[in-house]
């Protein structure tokens, strides 16, 4: 049963600390998405990659957020330095293209104190 995995599932950290979230997309999928979910803003696309190349990161605060795909089996989202307003659930999703099914991971619930 292929699925997207994300680590850690929960993270509590203090303001100013670096946070790294990891995602393993479904084997064979060539597109990876990072979303942030909050009560106020809902689901927002932060960035997405196709064949490991970044296609759109316009939804991501560039000064503190960075997203990479070191290889086809790993995507990372880093926040440095973290701020309380970054508290949210971060989802990774993978698929073949935006207009095909996106398979979401279970999310990383981040709390920045």
């Amino acid at each position: 049963d292929a699925r997207v995995t994300q680590t850690p599932r929960h993270k509590v950290t203090e303001m100013g600390q670096e946070v790294t979230m990891r995602c393993q997309p479904i084997l064979g999928h060539n597109t990876v998405f990072w979303y942030r979910q909050t009560m106020m803003q809902g689901l927002e696309l932060l960035a997405y990659f196709r064949n490991r190349a970044p296609l759109d990161d316009s939804g991501m605060p560039k000064d503190r957020f960075s997203a990479e795909m070191p290889d086809a089996t790993l995507a990372t989202l880093k926040i440095q330095p973290s701020e309380p307003r970054d508290s949210a659930v971060y989802f990774c999703a993978s698929g073949w293209a935006t207009q095909e099914t996106q398979y979401f991971g279970p999310g990383t619930r981040l709390l920045v104190l």
Partner: protein, 114 residues
Amino acid sequence: QQQVKQSPQSLIVQKGGISIINCAYENTAFDYFPWYQQFPGKGPALLIAIRPDVSEKKEGRFTISFNKSAKQFSLHIMDSQPGDSATYFCAASTQQGGSEKLVFGKGTKLTVNP
């Protein structure tokens, strides 16, 4: 123009009833309209999707109705069951402009009472 407006924010339905969730959009370039279902503590999962060349798509108890001229689409859940209690998100995307972002509505929390 990139927004998708979803209503209602929450919905309570009795078991066996019909649940209806509505979405509206402005960008006429949108050409793919999926609905995602999310249970607490889980990631969203694709429920059903439609493209604007058809006005309706049905999969089991779930139906999408699409009105291109009104720029609206809706999800109907027939014979709603307690297991359908979840948050539902409509979304839209276009392949024009080089970015294929999926834009989500704010979500509707559905509660189906037994």
